[in-house]
Symmetry: C2
Subunit: 473 residues, 2 copies
């Protein structure tokens, strides 16, 4: 055989992505066993491993789906009674789309994405941040992941090039850095201070990496944090920008959870701070339709904005998009609707606002309930959940649990997560998949199950944890 | 600045993708000039550079779009009069989809793609080839390009690893090999024999590459050919399989044009031949919803099938898909509809068959008309177009045209294509973008403009070519 475990690209072997790793495959096996009527200690799998709201029955935003149906099947526009089934603004949006897009949803767009969508993205940024933004700086992507892939591909030339990433981090970053053969340079968030980002820690991490010969090129920030849920203050962002200016680093700002903010610190974009500081730091920021209240993960829609990037580099990025032709058009349409929802006075406005508000308040309630519940469990502590879709509690494992994990050939947090899955059907991701401070153990769970299911998750988790801790104490 | 032309990953700089290269950017500039009411020698751009049928007003298949509308906006299923607007089989398909897919089109599917879609793909392959096929061997992709990317990423470890590619080739191959830092090992198709693939030429190319220290790992075949349009005979495919067996090479079979066959040689899949030969050669084959009569390029839907691939390698490929989460769900639905269209007796069957047949016959007529026209033009010869969506004629340029190109700082074929664009608004791709035998010159043009527009393209091309050849003869 030509392509074997020994001869596959070792960078591929190196990459890890725990959010869909061994634990999820084990959960899928359990699910098949349940379908085959096998008896297990639970009767369903509760997927809390991934931010995938619709999988857990979250409803899509009605207006978005109305526009999609009319752009997918434009004959509906000519159907008798169309205006009874669809609101006038959804019809108008679909007509506008067809006017601006002669090939409809079935044609490749230009590599960078449909111009009229990029113009709306630019208006959204301008309004959000009080800045001027340009369609030419926007690239429409298949989810935020594609933008991150392409950015890191441009940055990593060889095994000496490094990208700074938070620890804990979303594993897309370490995976993509591995695939490109570079080095992940971790900087620690401070759990004892609610996962805050301290510039002295950035200095330490950079210094240490440079001492090891790493050519540090960029700093990735996830705000609001994934898996850690903290929201950076404007003052803190300013410090990060100054740090990157001083050290000539590109900022990669992952802001996909910008609409998921539940705490006291509001979301501030890196774009706003960079522009208001009149900084010339290079900034690439990412947004997505998969998160927020929209949760349209299956669409694979997103965008990235390039600020202060060398025009020749922008051309190269354009070429990379050309090689994969363009992001999918339905995803581009959802991006358009996300950045340009029904306005006040439009027929769909009130329903849209109500749906968004209900979802937001429900997410906030669930985050608070989960946070309180976790902190009331034995040997578990959890920082405030300021944003995003996850809790990332610390589990304080007794030495005999650590020993049992060792005997089972697993890291202690994986051992805890496997035991949890096998006992309850709840699928979470062990903290080691996100990286964590040596000797500390965590897991990541979403709070996306519906409110009644969430009670069930908490109840099951509490009982499991109690018996686990009792067993090993 | 950190990210500059000098410090960007040189593999990115190296990659070329002419299908959307400098010539297309020039065409887009002309288009903007026309929109701004500037006077040019033409009043529209005719995009013949890319296989993008809907851009040129090809209609989508009605049934596909009906199902999409019902899956994107399931409330339509409960609407009064739904069964008057939508045929019963479209409604049944949408209901089936929702039954099989609790999260609908808004949720990530499992990394490999929806299981019920993969099962239908397996049935399609089984029926097409008279073989047994398995859902577990299928990965649903964002277009065929993503499958090719992932395969080549697994194969290329370092700068000594090589992939054999046809010359001329579709530039995705050279671009992806460049991005992964490997070597493209070209084997020439024989234009004088209708772009046939001769195994002695494979032997020569392999020997030469190995003499240069290249670790040749795989052979890419495009059947029907892009840009060359030839269709491989079953006997020829058998020879290629034997060659790959002898030399321990993975076969990468790009079969996205399998439904676009206009000549006497029918399409035969590598899958069929490999299975019937009981070969254990490693085979990865690709298909897409972007081509055929469907032409749903903007959906980014496709699949790849892995045959005789080491199970550990399959796990690694699964992980790579996990890192980008999953292909978009609407694209997966179109794959499902492509492989499982309305059956005889279903309410939509006759309309579906008629739409497919009309499109097929029109494409065939246009291919024949273009082929005949090209051969009647001065200094142009074109082989028979057996399949795909392109003509790739040879242009026999007079020495003074070659000289003029040199003075303009362009390759001769680029010079011809630029002059054509500037004079007529017709955008084609120079042959050098696909690689071609030293000293020969070509361009690739689609025959996708509508039949009346196609007459216009031919007419303009003929006039331009005549005056160009006259000028330089």
């Amino acid at each position: 055989m030509q392509l074997t475990p020994d001869s596959i690209n070792p960078k591929v072997l190196e990459a890890q992505y725990a959010v869909r790793g061994a634990l999820v495959l084990r959960a899928m096996q359990h699910e098949r066993a349940l379908q085959q009527k096998q008896t297990l200690p639970f009767n369903e799998i509760l997927y809390c491993n991934i931010g995938n709201p619709h999988q857990l029955k979250q409803k899509p935003i009605t207006f978005f789906r109305q526009v999609l149906a009319l752009t997918d099947y434009p004959d509906l526009l000519d159907m008798q009674g169309c205006s009874e089934v669809f609101p006038a603004d959804a019809i108008a949006r679909a007509k506008d789309f067809h006017k601006n897009t002669p090939g409809g949803t079935g044609a490749y767009s230009e590599s960078q994405g449909l111009r009229h969508v990029r113009e709306n993205v630019a208006k959204f940024i301008a309004k959000r941040d009080g800045v001027t933004a340009y369609a030419d700086d926007i690239f429409l992507t298949d989810g935020a992941s594609q933008g991150v892939h392409i950015s890191i591909m441009c940055l990593v030339k060889n095994e000496l090039d490094g990208i700074m990433i938070p620890i804990p981090q979303y594993p897309l970053y370490t995976a993509t850095i591995s695939l490109n053969g570079g080095r992940a340079v971790g900087y620690y968030l401070d759990e004892s201070q609610g996962w805050t980002l301290d510039v002295s820690e950035l200095d330490r991490a950079l210094r240490e990496a440079r001492n090891q010969g790493t050519n540090v090129r960029a700093l990735a920030v996830i705000n609001p944090g994934n898996p850690t849920g903290q929201c950076l203050t404007e003052a803190n962002i300013r410090q990060v920008v100054e740090f990157c200016e001083r050290n000539n680093l590109v900022i990669l700002a992952d802001e996909v959870y910008q609409a998921n903010v539940y705490g006291d610190v509001p979301f501030t974009s890196f774009r706003k701070v960079v522009t208001h500081m009149k900084s010339n730091v290079e900034l690439i920021s990412y947004h997505s339709v998969s998160k927020g209240m929209i949760g349209e993960c299956g669409r694979r829609g997103g965008y990235m904005e390039l600020i202060n990037i060398d025009p020749v580099v922008v051309e190269q990025i354009y070429k990379l998009f050309s090689i994969s032709l363009c992001s999918n058009i339905a995803g581009q349409i959802i991006v358009d609707l996300m950045v340009n929802p029904p306005a006040k006075g439009d027929p769909s406005h009130d329903q849209y606002e109500r749906e968004m508000k209900d979802l937001f308040e429900s997410l906030k309630r669930r985050s608070q309930k989960l946070h309180a519940a976790l902190n009331s469990m034995k040997n578990i502590t959890c920082t405030e959940i300021g944003g995003a879709m996850y809790a990332f509690p610390s589990i304080h494992l007794p030495p005999s649990a650590v020993q049992a994990a060792k005997e089972a050939g697993m890291t202690p947090d994986t051992f805890y997560a496997v035991e949890l899955l096998d006992a309850t059907g709840i699928c979470v991701v062990p903290g080691s998949g996100f990286r964590q401070k040596q000797g500390s153990f965590h897991f990541r769970t979403t709070f996306l199950p519906s409110e009644s299911k969430m009670d069930d998750v908490i109840d099951k988790l509490r009982k499991f944890n109690q018996s686990f801790m009792d067993k090993y104490s």
